[in-house]
Symmetry: C2
Subunit: 501 residues, 2 copies
């Protein structure tokens, strides 16, 4: 078989797998948005049957043969062509997939399913001991997975690499430590300052919020013809297939900003998805997202750098006031200050922009210690509370508000948390670069013109798919290696504007 | 391998296939109810990829080995046990599936997809000539399919048997001819009579209709926790999996009865689906519907025998008047008469209960002639118009209102139409038997108590799955072989009550 035939086979195989994966995405979206209650028990089996088929396709020995026919051919001569990138990334996916024995994959899936149920109950009852054996099993299986995948430094690296290709403990630990130290210093600095006035807690009827969100998401570039906005208990974004990006929010009638920032955040994910998954590239690595960190950078940039900025509110406040008359008396700077308030709390998902990163560092340090065997599962609650005191200055009153608050570990997702902070870091790097690249970006945003920013992100991030490793992608887009500098400058500038510190 | 192991393998294989088929059902439901416009082109590929997997599973040679180990074992000793019925029906499905060469299956699927698109355009433009070559291809492939499947009488039998197991031209032609002659005589008899007064055409706001439908569908037994009611261009019912029956309607704000009868019709389908597809039997033939005719009998019974009856309106009119104040002055008999009006027209889907069956006979006679080669595709429009004059006394002004009005032939579904009339016939047989079995059924319905009827249908039809052939199932439920008699009695009694003929 010649290289071009083999490449065509890889592309066809990938496209069919992607078309099949659409079913899994749809089953999962439907479960969270549409599924009648009585059908919930059956959905796991439906998703499981599809997952097994996708796993078998991902490890199909033909892939190895086709790759061998492509590698070293003219298709791979220039590593920056889409073909070469696809072949390189197909190889990465195939080698990783075949390294995991089917028995381990099944054991992990079962433990994750059981672990998630046990975690839900344990959190409800504040009963860490009931969850502990599940966590121990998941840690053990994750260590086995790391050994199967292999690593140069330590087991954690193998797991992190699955979420953020190319990153290791050695590359992210210093950047996270810098974030921790600088942001906790910032938290200390604003501790005594006068907090901004909150927005009026008038009722914001759900129907009005919905109309407002349709307007705002369209304004920043989400095409209505290629998306849906629905309601779910936990807001999320999913791509079902080309031209089909779906986001969800949760409405709070006392605070319209929760659904707003949720919708803008998920719109950031959706814009990235629609930008990389064009119909002609869907099913190839060039039509896929490159990492969770880069995905998160897109949601965070639109949420934090855009929708929490003063220029955004200069354009959007009059629009919001038409939907919510109670906002009529406010100035854009009032909203900018209110939504930029810094208020450390115990719960990550409720954290403000500044407090968010210390939450992540706390989790990273603890999961690293667990993986290394430096921390025993039984000692996790105490270690969590101690770190919470040290980093946030707050002690959880119970484990439900402490080490049981997040779902990730119950699904065996160790190495996932750092991608949130990488997303924040990358978002700030990208926005600084966009401000340089786009003349008067703030002025354009204040005029409701977000198209230049979306176009810049589309060209520099979305359309690149998996052409470059995440860190190299950000470097190529911004002209310099990513650091925590831009994020820290962004947070400090905002603290200065709002708190005068 | 012993018989019990083989049976367990068949059951597991069947359950996984059913779990995978859920994805196809969901992709299809979503396409008609939720899908963003930009995603429509990609949906065919997603459904196609799933269909290919299901076809491969249905023809898996292991099935033949497992069946061989079961057949003749103690599991098949008593043909009326669920195990014996499952083995018999698995055999039927497997033998049919492997008889169709993959090339023919693919050619049929492609021709159906192309045919449907060509039909949509041809109907819009009233251009039969543009659709004719597609119809010729579909006829040719359907004849090949009939030859591959085999038949005792004629090719049409093989196709009909796929929709209505056990039926042949010889068994249904006489019953359909009787229906044609008796109902056209009835149409003649009411021709001069004074028609009942129509219902007020006041606006019936969609939100009010929706609330009313939720109430009515729950009243007749559709569990809200195991169903959804949505909107689509063409009303339909689908079972995604256990506990997940979804129906759709279309709202007309000038006429609330359109959505009402649509919803009750689809609820009849959904109740049957929920009744046979219990979680423990899902994926085995005992957990599947037995035929299209029996499926249609359930929708028609609830629509025609129940929701168009006087007792139904005695209970439901006061309820309807609460949602639609304009109905307040009416008596139940006014509504009963209005919704029982007989008004022959050209379009099948708009036909009243009496005119509906002649529409079906017209199509059956024409598709039979096409399959036999007695009618050429080019001569179809003329033959249609001639039969329309002879049977309905009406001549279509164009082919869009004539031989191009239905989608079925454009998808290659020859042999499908008769199942609609069989459904009407079976519905009337079942309702007559239920009236005998349930003391004072009319009185219970007038009191809003539909549970005894649903229970009787559940025990005698729903729970039986594919235990018996359709005709035997109806005979077992009613105590006698099904005939057109009960349906004709039902239609004549209604004509007498409304038109005094």
């Amino acid at each position: 078989m010649n290289a071009n035939e083999a490449y065509a086979n890889l592309a066809a195989h990938g496209r069919t797998s992607a078309d099949l994966a659409s079913s899994v995405s749809l089953l999962s979206w439907d479960q969270q948005v549409m599924l009648p209650p009585a059908a919930h028990p059956g959905r796991a089996g439906q998703i499981g049957a599809m997952t097994a088929i996708l796993h078998r396709r991902a490890t199909d020995p033909h892939i190895g043969e086709w790759l061998a026919a492509c590698e070293g051919s003219t298709l791979t001569a220039d590593p920056l062509t889409p073909e070469a990138a696809n072949i390189r990334e197909w190889r990465r996916d195939f080698d990783l997939a075949v390294k995991i024995p089917e028995g381990l994959a099944v054991a992990l899936a079962r433990a994750a399913s059981a672990g998630q149920r046990a975690w839900e109950l344990a959190r409800k009852d504040d009963a860490f001991a009931a969850f502990a054996p599940h966590l121990a099993t998941l840690l053990d299986l994750s260590r086995q997975k790391a050994e199967a995948l292999g690593y140069a430094g330590e087991p954690y690296d193998a797991l992190l690499d699955g979420f953020e290709p190319g990153e290791t403990v050695a590359t992210i630990a210093p950047i996270l430590a810098e974030l921790r130290d600088e942001t906790t210093a910032l938290l200390d600095a604003v501790k005594g300052a006068v907090p901004p006035a909150p927005l009026p807690a008038e009722p914001y009827p759900q129907a009005d919020q919905q109309a407002f969100l349709a307007r705002v998401t369209a304004l920043i570039g989400l095409p209505a013809a290629a998306s849906r906005l629905d309601v779910s208990a936990h807001p999320f974004s999913t791509l079902i297939g080309p031209g089909d990006a779906r986001i969800t929010v949760r409405y709070d009638e006392a605070d319209f900003t929760k659904a707003l920032f949720g919708a803008v955040h998920e719109t950031g994910h959706a814009l990235y998805s629609l930008g990389h998954a064009s119909d002609d590239r869907y099913g190839t690595p060039m039509g896929e997202f490159v990492s969770l960190g880069v995905h998160e950078s897109q949601s965070r940039l639109w949420e934090n750098q855009v929708a929490r900025s003063l220029p955004f509110w200069e354009h959007v406040l009059p629009l919001a006031a038409r939907h919510f008359p109670t906002l009529a008396g406010l100035a854009p700077s009032d909203v900018f200050r209110a939504v930029g308030a810094i208020a450390p709390g115990l719960i990550r998902v409720d954290a403000d922009e500044t407090t968010y990163n210390p939450h992540i560092v706390l989790r990273f340090e603890l999961e690293l210690a667990l993986l290394r065997g430096d921390l025993l599962v039984a000692d996790l609650p105490g270690a969590w509370n101690e770190k919470s005191r040290a980093i946030l200055g707050l002690t959880p009153p119970n484990d439900a508000a402490g080490c049981l608050q997040d779902v990730h570990w119950s699904m065996g997702a160790f190495g996932y948390f750092p991608t949130y902070s990488l997303g924040n870091i990358y978002a700030a790097c990208l926005f600084e670069a966009a401000e340089t690249a786009i003349p008067d970006l703030a002025g354009r945003m204040a005029a409701g013109n977000f198209a230049p920013l979306l176009k810049w992100l589309g060209q520099n991030i979305h359309a690149k798919g998996r052409l470059l490793r995440p860190r190299d992608l950000i470097a190529a887009a911004t002209g310099k290696a990513p650091t925590a500098g831009p994020l820290l400058r962004h947070l400090k500038a905002k603290a200065a504007a709002i708190y005068g510190v």
